[in-house]
């Protein structure tokens, strides 16, 4: 569906179902240089299992218009604006990678609006090396290739897939290539600049589920564990052989874990 948010036309995947703002809302926030297609194997599945899904493309990403947002704090404010426009009072936030930083910020600062958190491929800080930042500015195709290569675990590199005939690496590259040319650089800069992750995590009181990949080289599991330890009462699922792109690499682990965590 299309929706204007702060005057910008936004694309929101709802998993192929009409959206009910009074339902059990599950907002899926994509990571750096990604878009709603991160959750291609979660959005439809969970939307047909009792959840009302909103998987937006942030501005400048996927099928959304506009320019990418500059900071994690801006992204959190933008999600609140989205919830307001959609008539949503409270929601569960499910983030992946950079989307988790936004989720931490939301949960800590908008407690009355956020019911639960699901953090996938996450850490309290996601510093990005200068080489990748520079490449995302000057050689975007190379940066995309590097990120998809580093981001996926061993089975993706062997072109194994739960979706018959699909290559996760090449699909991942094309997903990133859809975005505004400035999106990846803006996202990486936003990740680098965000310093509130640890304090936000410590302030979280909502039930939280962390799903981590044992072979994740972008947000290594040791940092994910630290985040889980910081969030009071959080639960953790570790997928030993998964890399950073867990929604594609182990879709049913995500789907089953989310349903068990949310009790549906």
């Amino acid at each position: 569906m299309k929706q204007d948010v702060n005057g910008v036309r936004i694309h929101i995947a709802t998993g192929g179902r009409d959206f009910n703002p009074k339902g059990k809302i599950l907002v899926m926030l994509h990571g750096s240089g990604q878009n709603h297609l991160t959750f291609v194997l979660q959005a439809r599945y969970l939307a047909h299992r009792g959840y009302d899904v909103l998987a937006p493309d942030f501005p400048g990403h996927g099928l959304s218009e506009g320019e990418p947002l500059a900071s994690i704090e801006d992204s959190a404010d933008w999600v609140i604006a989205l919830l307001d426009i959609m008539g949503v009072e409270t929601a569960t936030i499910m983030g992946h990678s950079q989307g988790c930083l936004t989720a931490l910020e939301l949960a800590a600062n908008h407690k009355s609006r956020i019911d639960e958190l699901i953090l996938i491929g996450a850490a309290m800080a996601i510093p990005v090396n200068d080489y990748l930042v520079d490449m995302s500015d000057k050689a975007l195709a190379k940066a995309i290739k590097m990120m998809t290569s580093w981001g996926h675990g061993p089975s993706a590199h062997m072109v194994d897939n739960t979706q018959p005939g699909h290559s996760m690496l090449d699909y991942g590259r094309q997903v990133m290539d859809i975005n505004n040319r400035a999106a990846l650089l803006a996202d990486l800069n936003a990740c680098n600049a965000y310093q509130n992750g640890a304090s936000a995590a410590a302030a979280i009181t909502q039930p939280t589920l962390c799903i981590l990949g044992g072979r994740d080289r972008m947000t290594p599991a040791k940092f994910g564990r630290k985040m889980a330890d910081t969030i009071t009462g959080s639960k953790m699922v570790m997928v030993d052989q998964a890399g950073h792109f867990l929604p594609a690499e182990c879709p049913m682990v995500i789907n089953d874990s989310v349903r068990e965590f949310l009790g549906k």
């Binding site: 047909h48 089975s155 979706q163 018959p164 005939g165 699909h166 290559s167 094309q174 879709p251």
Partner: protein, 432 residues
């Protein structure tokens, strides 16, 4: 893993990770029609395209999926779908994109069945084609109409060996907002990966070099994932609510794999052009050695060109690696590893000499296939095109004296010796 695996490694491994229970190193043959659902919810999720998996072998199969993923990886596509033959791949790909009233711009120098499909069969269903020379960029551009939905050609034409400038044609189709679909049977991904040059959909007859053994028929459609189906309202069954799939919008739901999602959900489901699991297994065995075989094909082809070019029994030789070929300069840049292992040549003495040559060779097999590990020859004028007039053959770029040679992997000395005795038989006919 510090980076992406390279071509030779992917040829051996892509698509298959040994399962935890049995650990089979070879790809298992899942000779089954159906798959047991875990529960009703699992079945519903599969049918509704919410998750990946298998529900019926007409639509997908684990052994075939390994082959699909291997081909996708070699071509750098987002996905591939395998079919019962190369023609099934082409037909289903066209039907995935086109509806009645749509138009295709196609190369006039292609495999006869490709031409026949577009010229005679599809018009019965309201899909028409304009044929243009594959190396005439202006003609390709001029032939694109408002209802054109595909530009289609072969990278290396069969049997005339005309070569398409993929990057130049891709620039034209991108500007026109039309996908470029290429039959890549003659080049295989070892020689060229046209998706990297801007092509959008790749068709393979896997029966040929990809399998290489001549024991299994199969085809594949590779989705480059690099065409924006939503950029216009030209593709409403991909980028709009689908009439028969609960209003699913493949473009919004599956993004770069929208074409493949529709190909499988509609094409495999309704047309049923499925590849047999056993054939997938056979073709996988061939692909494991594709890099080794292709190098040998290229080496033997280079040697045969040297042997044929200037031979006293030979009137002319055509191959893109020869400086006399009109696309030779393009080929040096676009196909640096070689331009395929098909050579066409004319024998002095015309049709009768050609027939005598074909019937006297012992090692080379006289048959209709190409791309086998074994050397193959055919004389189109006395066989595949025997019912066509000499004038009509010339219009199609074929001549009365033409021999099509598919260079195999035998010792080159044995191939040339076989040809020498064939040439002697042709000479006897020529001299009467």
């Amino acid at each position: 893993m510090s980076g992406d695996y390279k071509f030779d490694t992917l040829s051996l491994h892509a698509g298959h990770v040994p399962d935890e229970r049995h650990g089979s190193r070879a790809v298992p043959i899942h000779q089954t029609t159906s798959y047991v659902f875990k529960d009703s919810e699992h079945a519903a999720a599969l049918y509704n395209m919410e998750i990946g998996g298998h529900l019926y072998t007409r639509i997908s199969n684990p052994t075939v999926a390994v082959l699909e993923q291997r081909v996708a990886a070699l071509d750098r596509g987002v996905a591939a779908t395998c079919t019962a033959s190369g023609m099934a791949a082409l037909t289903t790909a066209i039907m995935t994109i086109c509806s009645s009233g749509d138009h295709i711009v196609a190369s006039s120098r292609m495999y006869g069945a490709n031409i026949n499909l577009l010229e005679n069969t599809l018009p019965r269903f309201g899909i028409t084609a304009t044929f243009v020379a594959p190396d005439d960029l202006d003609a390709i551009k001029a032939a694109i109409q408002p209802n054109t939905k595909i530009v289609f050609g072969e990278v290396i034409g069969n049997p005339g060996l005309d070569v398409m400038d993929v990057a130049a044609v891709a620039a034209i189709t991108k500007e026109a907002g039309v996908p470029l679909m290429l039959d890549c049977t003659f080049n295989t991904p070892w020689l060229l990966r046209p998706i990297e040059l801007g092509a959008n959909i790749i068709i393979h007859s896997l029966t040929k070099w990809m399998g290489g053994h001549g024991i299994a028929i199969g085809g594949a459609v590779v989705d480059g994932g690099n065409f924006d189906w939503g950029q216009s309202d030209k593709f409403p069954t991909i980028a709009g609510p689908h009439y028969a799939m609960n209003d699913i919008n493949f473009y919004e739901e599956f993004g770069p794999a929208a074409f493949t999602a529709k190909f499988r959900a509609e094409g495999m489901y309704n047309f049923g052009p499925s590849m047999a699991p056993m054939n997938a297994f056979h073709i996988l065995q061939g692909i494991e050695t594709l890099p080794l075989r292709m190098q040998r094909h290229m080496d033997n082809t280079a040697a045969m060109l040297k042997f044929l070019d200037g031979h006293e029994a030979v009137e002319w030789v055509r191959h893109p690696m020869l400086p006399s070929h009109p696309s030779h300069e393009l080929v040096k840049k676009m196909l640096p590893k070689g331009a395929g292992s098909i050579i066409v040549f004319g024998l002095k003495g015309g049709r009768e000499a050609g027939k005598a040559f074909i019937e006297s060779v012992d090692l080379a097999s006289h048959l209709a296939n190409v791309g086998d590990a074994k050397t193959l020859v055919i004389h189109p004028a006395s066989t595949t095109h025997s019912h066509i007039s000499a004038e009509a053959m010339l219009e199609g770029g074929l001549s009365d004296d033409m021999i099509r040679l598919s260079v195999g992997l035998e010792d080159i000395d044995d191939i040339t010796a076989d040809f020498e005795q064939g040439f002697k038989a042709a000479a006897r006919v020529r001299k009467g």
